[in-house]
């Protein structure tokens, strides 16, 4: 009885081990199953999903105009102070002064890509870009100014 158990144990154990080796052996002999995407070589074809949150950008049109009114809704919505908006008073043609953005500072090094600023923005001035290759040697390069130099508010955006 003892001997029978002994050999049954051995038989079952060897069987289970061979089963495991069958799995690895199957993949070894089936190179079609290889999942690897070769990253730096597939950059041309690598497409992020359109909702992928890579970084916050402020789209400018061909006249170098953006849609940011400087309302600071995004700055308030941001949970960890990633966005700093410095505003200035701009003289309108009719003589009134109006708030406008001077610099839209975006700290990529702090950003957690939570999308709260984009949902908070009333004028769709900012959106999430699908870029992800942000590696730098110097941390200071991660502090970005999103409004292009000389850009101004698009007509009709309040």
């Amino acid at each position: 009885m003892f001997l029978k158990d002994y050999f049954v144990t051995i038989y079952k154990s060897v069987g289970s081990l061979l089963k495991g080796m069958k799995v690895t052996g199957y993949y070894f002999t089936h190179p079609k199953e290889i999942q690897t995407q070769e990253y730096p070589d597939n950059r041309a074809t690598l497409q992020m999903f359109d909702r992928f949150k890579g970084e916050v950008v402020m789209p400018h049109d061909e006249n170098n105009e953006h849609r940011c009114t400087g309302c600071q809704a995004c700055e308030i919505a941001c949970p960890n102070g990633t966005i700093k908006i410095i505003t200035k008073q701009e003289l309108q043609p009719d003589g009134k002064k109006k708030k406008a953005i001077d610099t839209f500072v975006y700290h990529l090094e702090l950003c957690t890509m939570c999308n709260m600023c984009v949902t908070a923005c009333p004028s769709d001035a900012i959106k999430m870009a699908q870029t992800f290759e942000h590696s730098v040697y110097d941390k200071r390069q991660l502090k970005k100014v999103l409004n292009a130099p000389g850009s101004k508010l698009m007509e009709g955006v309040e």
Binding site: L17, T24, G25, Y27, F28, I34
Partner: protein, 364 residues
């Protein structure tokens, strides 16, 4: 190429000897020079071999793990190990302040040297053997067990608790599994009646032992593969370095070149045990012969003997690598249970069967 491989290596050796004896009068000097030539050529052979084994291991692992493995350094990633080696050699070699410096530095050398020593009696091809000593099998099993001293030294001298635990595990492991390896080697010795490697190879002229010896030799072979995997500390028996438990086990404190030596030793060991397994059970360089099918045997003879040897060796290496990438690691008590409760009793009974078989002449 094939012509080069088939020409007798013994004639080359004889040629060198005659030439040396002619130029140098002193017999001692000749011997020393010959030893140096043998050593250097062994090294020249081992380093590329280890590069290849390292590359092979990574590729085998990668394909089993449905990925590509190294493919960016050199053609198909073949220079990956070269880069790793150059980097390791140029890395700062740290010796911990609290360690026993002499033993700490000696340990990797002992490990490498013992694993290289075992290469001596291996027949790489027809008539190509560094030292065909009359007690080949005994030599192999005794010298290979010296490696454990190196590992114990490494673990003890590192002054690190993980290293110590790893070394102690390794000690228990190698000492136990030595028995099974020995017993499975004995079964072939019984069948052959000789400890000499060349005799063992020649005895398989009309068929390898694994076919001639029926089930008992097959069992010996399986036990040999399992036990030798354990003896060279490879997964699933890599308790001495058990990364998840002991970070890196006995070589936790080793860096740079000294660590590279452990890696080198690991691959040499892998090759050596596979080569011995191939020699004893699969006929070494002996081509695949079936009884008296002369025509078939002649065709097989056309394949160079070194290819036969390396083919068989790498088949065993592949199996051992597949073990590594398939199985979970054993626990230390289970490791000893496996040896003392399963492998050892089975191999003892098996030796009995082999002996009966040899006496009765039931093998082919």
């Amino acid at each position: 190429m094939a012509l080069f491989l088939t020409i007798s290596f013994s004639s080359i050796a004889t040629g060198i000897h005659t030439w040396l004896a002619g130029t140098m009068q002193n017999e001692m000097l000749v011997k020393i020079t010959e030893m140096a030539i043998a050593g250097i050529s062994l090294l020249l052979f081992l380093v590329p071999l280890c590069f290849f084994l390292g590359y092979m291991e990574r590729k085998v692992a990668a394909f089993m793990q449905i990925r590509l493995g190294p493919n960016r350094v050199g053609p198909k990633g073949s220079l990956q190990i070269v880069a790793d080696t150059i980097k390791l050699l140029l890395k700062e070699g740290l010796t911990p302040t609290a360690s026993d410096k002499f033993l700490f530095n000696l340990a990797p050398m002992i490990v490498v040297v013992t694993s290289m020593l075992v290469m001596a009696p291996i027949a790489f091809a027809k008539d190509f053997q560094i030292w065909d000593l009359s007690i080949g099998v005994l030599y192999v099993s005794s010298v290979s067990s010296i490696a454990v001293i190196g590992i114990l030294m490494a673990g003890w001298s590192s002054y690190n608790k993980y290293s110590l635990l790893g070394a102690m595990r390794s000690g228990a492991q190698i000492v136990s599994y030595e028995l099974s390896v020995g017993l499975s080697l004995i079964s072939i010795v019984i069948l052959t009646g000789s400890l000499r490697m060349s005799d063992i190879v020649m005895s398989q002229e009309n068929g390898w032992w694994i076919f001639k010896g029926h089930i008992p030799v097959l069992i010996s072979f399986v036990i040999f593969v399992i036990a030798s995997t354990a003896e060279i500390n490879r997964a699933p028996f890599d308790l001495a370095e058990a990364e998840q438990e002991l970070t890196a086990g006995f070589h936790t404190e080793y860096s740079g070149m000294k660590f590279a030596m452990f890696l080198l030793a690991e691959y040499i060991n892998l090759f050596v045990v596979s080569a011995i397994g191939a020699t004893l059970f699969l006929g070494g360089w002996m081509p695949f012969h079936i009884g008296h099918w002369e025509a078939f045997n002649h065709i097989m003879d056309f394949i160079p003997s070194s290819l036969w040897f390396f083919g068989k060796t790498f088949a065993i290496i592949f199996i051992i690598m597949q073990f590594r990438w398939t199985f979970p690691r054993l626990r230390v008590d289970q490791l000893l249970t496996l040896e003392w409760k399963y492998l050892l009793p089975i191999s003892m009974v098996n030796v009995l069967f082999v002996t009966v078989m040899a006496i009765m002449g039931w093998h082919f």
